[in-house]
């Protein structure tokens, strides 16, 4: 069973890794540091909403949230297996990690869908 899953899960992990590597830093820098510390003025609510109404932006946001979560799921799963030597909790960890990523994805879809 595991065997048939590993290839697509790994594909999700690695595309997630690519997305995270290219896109996550700039979002973190802007929203986590530059704006809160007041180095630059944050975009106004209207401006942001304007951007988010664009369907392309919606797709972008879902990608930005979903794939890196699957990236996390894969890495975290193996870190738990190896780092803590808890491979016997296999199923539980599996459910937690990919379940988490799936919930995150659903949330992202739901939220962008709510923007009108």
């Amino acid at each position: 069973m595991l065997r048939s899953n590993e290839a697509p899960l790994w594909a999700l992990f690695s595309t997630g890794g690519v997305v995270a590597a290219f896109l996550i830093p700039v979002h973190l820098v802007l929203f986590g540091l530059v704006f809160p510390l007041g180095w630059l003025r944050p975009p106004t609510y209207e401006h942001l909403l304007g951007i988010l109404r664009n369907p392309l932006a919606k797709i972008y946001l879902v990608t930005l949230c979903s794939l890196p979560l699957f990236h996390w799921a894969h890495r975290f799963r193996y870190t738990l297996y190896d780092g803590l030597k808890v491979k016997h909790l296999n199923e539980l960890i599996f459910a937690f990690c990919y379940g988490g990523a799936a919930i995150g994805t659903v949330l992202a879809v739901y939220l962008v869908w709510r923007i009108s």
Partner: protein
């Protein structure tokens, strides 16, 4: 009677191997291992940033008041600290990821494999361009 020992007894002509056990803290023993674990844990901070983004989205969905309140919360010193730590790990992820891609892809031009740094370099270029474009888009207006 034989003396009780913790160790299985050696019997002549039957080798008794010593099987070392790997400790749970194996990754603390060696810098390269620790770095590996940190690299893997960077994914946790990637996930944290995603969560931050989701919360931001929720705030936008809920309206201007919620958005303003969320901005305010992000400026709390504790949250700033978390962001800083996250940034460290997220950058760690980006750099290790870029440097390792050439490993996973043997890019060949005209039958010759091109050197790894040349495969990695475009990543950094694209990264800078993309980051600039996104910043502009968000900041404009």
């Amino acid at each position: 009677m034989q003396q009780p020992t913790k160790v299985p007894h050696y019997t002549k002509y039957h080798p008794r191997w010593f099987r070392p056990r790997v400790s749970v803290y194996w990754w603390l023993g060696q810098w390269q291992y620790l770095r590996f674990i940190l690299r893997e844990l960077s994914s946790v901070f990637v996930a944290l940033t995603v969560i931050m983004t989701l919360l931001e989205l929720r705030a936008v969905v809920q309206g201007p008041v919620a958005y303003a309140r969320f901005q305010h919360q992000l400026a709390k010193p504790g949250v700033i600290l978390i962001s800083l730590i996250s940034l460290f790990f997220v950058l760690f992820h980006t750099i290790t990821w870029f440097n390792l891609t050439p490993r996973a892809m043997a890019v060949k031009v005209a039958g010759k494999r091109i050197p790894e740094w040349l495969v990695a370099a475009p990543n950094y270029l694209i990264w800078i361009v993309v980051s600039g474009a996104i910043s502009l888009l968000i900041l404009r207006g």
